[in-house]
Amino acid sequence: MIHLSHITKTFGPTRAVDDVSLEVQRGEIVALAGENGAGKTTLMRIAAGEIDADGGTVNREGRAELVHQHFLLVDALTIAENLALTHLGFRFTTRRMIEREAREIIAGTGIELRDVSRRVSELSVGERSKLELIKAIARRPATLILDEPTSVLTPNETGELFAVMRRVAGEGTAVVFISHKLPEVLAVAQRVIVMRAGRVVAESAARDTNVQALANAMVVAQSPGLPVAGQLGDRVTGQPNIKAIVGVAGNGQSELAAKLRDEHREAGHIPEDRSRDGIVAELTIAENLALKAKRWNARDAARHAERMIALYSIRASGPLQRAGDLSGGNQQKVILARELDRRPPMIVAAEPTRGLDIAATRFVHEQLRAAAADGASILLITSDLNEAFALAGTIQVIYRGRLSEAMTPEEASRRVAALMAGVA
């Protein structure tokens, strides 16, 4: 359904996509794996016709829908109204008609999303991503491209998503799944393509490869052993002054983080939605890093930013690059540098590795561990259970705005599933 040949694309000094050719057939699920900034999203935006390539040709049969990592929804409107924006032509209608049609559209996609009269601003991140998916699938695209769709989902929601992907592919749609969660890639895709630094570096049928081989292909320059907390299944003992709050998205995690932000201004805060709450896209890296500083002096700030870029290995052209031009993982590193570098006594990290690749995730985990070893008390709010078990010495479950008692990891491993589902 999509045929790309010899695609190149350059942004300023960086070659984002460098002579890439690939093909996705009807009914096939292809995973596109790679580090943050490897060029996956750029390539798929070109494939979907959102941006033009500098060189190469794109052949597309039928419509291609790209579901973005960030949301393209109108917060002030309801679920039904958002669907009406993209799916209804210009005509007179009523709220009731819009809502009935919205329910039909949702039912047709087989995705569960209740109460279409809720405003998007009230939805959890997981529900928003479902709505984006519904919008895309309801248009019956010949090719469906999903950019890091699981990064905001709970394990259950991820399972639902995979079922949807398989069904859509079964109906003849070509599906491209951008991810760096390798176990997921192997679970759902038939073919895996690995990108690094703008090029395709590995391609294989999913049954002929494994997590270790893919991880090596993604980050070949780094150590081959690659023990990444959580992602590759190994369990590192949690640290006593890291406490994790786990739960299904939308059970009060965002409200808790916002309350802590307002009550503990001295603490370091890593917000869950980095493009909305973490980064000022229009300001430079240096300016973003200085937002919490008492003084501002352009030269000192640039020097500080250069140090942070080196220390946190932020992939950037320099301190004066616009933060909005960085990839998601590098934006997260900027936030981390700003929040952790002052060595705050307390750190509240909400979904700190959402959407990050293996290397960046490992880096974030190392930073949080180091801060904890340094004496900071860390509250990790996450929907990634592996992450919670990998880092925390104490685990609590949040369900419908209430926290469970604090548990040791051993106790939590027995009870957490039931507590998250609200059946314990």
Partner: protein
């Protein structure tokens, strides 16, 4: 550089449209262009007129730059200008410095009414500042007909202010103040932590809040600084040009500040050039009225063309 190009294009298209639409009244566009030119910068007298108009435009333009950079929509420059003039008049007996300080304080206080309503009841500034303009206009009307009316009680105007700005070569010293204010605004926005936080709040208030900025207080401060600049404009206009208050004292300077700021792409130093351009446009349009009998209201038309051109090109740019 590209933004600069768009601004120049907007200004040029305003001038050309003015000249060619004047052709509808039976004049050749070239003669109208030459009248516009000579009437705004062609003689020492014309140049002084342009500078006199540019001074209040520069200060109200800066007022809008500061507010819009912070993301707070202060449309109340006109009202802040008026209360600035009123305060300057009342305080003028204590000298120029006290008078201008009073003007800034009054402008800041008047703008802060909108901030207070925002914090108290979440009332949008776009509405409250516009409504405060009408309040100020009527306050001025009542003052010049009542308590502040001149002793001769002949016209609805006040007695002359007790102080005046010194005059340097045909132009009052307010021009120095206004240019200094632009440099100050640039320093504030780009060289201080306050300015960094103000800009961050304007670009992304959510991220600003997560970075520990008290967004409500930040907006209130930006509003107060913005109001102070518009108030200062009113004080300078009183002490430098009109010396008395009367009902049409503000003459739309507060609103024109929005066009000045937008043409300057919200940059405080570019605002100097932008204010000079609009000052020349207004002065040149006055000459058009005298020499070619074309309404000076065309200057307002020119402002509209500038803003529309900017909006169209901004839009085209953001879609690429």
């Amino acid at each position: 550089m590209r933004r600069f190009g768009v601004a120049v294009l907007a200004a040029a298209s305003a001038v050309l449209l003015l000249a060619f639409s004047g052709a509808l009244f039976g004049h050749s566009p070239w003669s109208l262009l030459s009248i516009l030119g000579s009437g705004s910068v062609g003689s020492r007298f014309a140049l002084a007129g342009t500078l006199l108009k540019a001074v209040p435009l520069l200060l109200t333009g800066l007022s809008v730059v500061i507010a819009f950079r912070a993301g707070v929509w202060n449309i109340g420059g006109e009202g802040q200008f008026i209360v600035g003039g009123l305060a300057a008049l009342v305080a003028s007996r204590w000298g120029v410095v006290a008078s201008l300080a009073a003007a800034m304080l009054a402008g800041a206080a008047w703008a802060s009414i909108a901030s207070a309503m925002r914090l108290w009841r979440n009332a949008p500034e776009v509405l409250t500042t516009i409504l405060l303009n009408f309040t100020a206009i009527h306050l001025l009307g009542w003052s010049v007909n009542g308590p502040l009316r001149e002793h001769a009680a002949q016209y609805p105007q006040t007695d002359p202010a007790g102080a005046a700005l010194p005059v340097l070569g045909g132009v009052h010293a307010g021009i120095v103040l206004a240019v200094a204010a632009s440099v100050f605004a640039w320093w504030l926005l780009y060289r201080t932590a306050e300015g960094l936080r103000l800009r961050a709040t304007g670009f992304n208030p959510n991220a600003a809040r997560w970075a520990g900025i008290r967004v409500g207080a930040q907006l209130a401060r930006a509003m107060a600084i913005s109001g102070a600049a518009a108030g200062l404009a009113g004080g300078v206009e009183l002490l430098g040009v009109t010396h008395r208050l009367f009902e049409r004292f503000a003459a739309g300077y507060g609103y024109s500040g929005i066009a000045v700021a937008l043409l300057a792409q919200l940059h405080p130093l570019a605002t100097i050039a932008s204010a000079l351009f609009f000052g020349a446009l207004v002065t040149g349009a006055g000459e058009l009225q005298r020499a070619a009998n074309i309404s000076a209201g065309l200057a307002t038309f020119g402002q509209a063309v500038v803003i529309l051109t900017l909006i169209v090109f901004e839009n085209v740019r953001s879609r690429r």
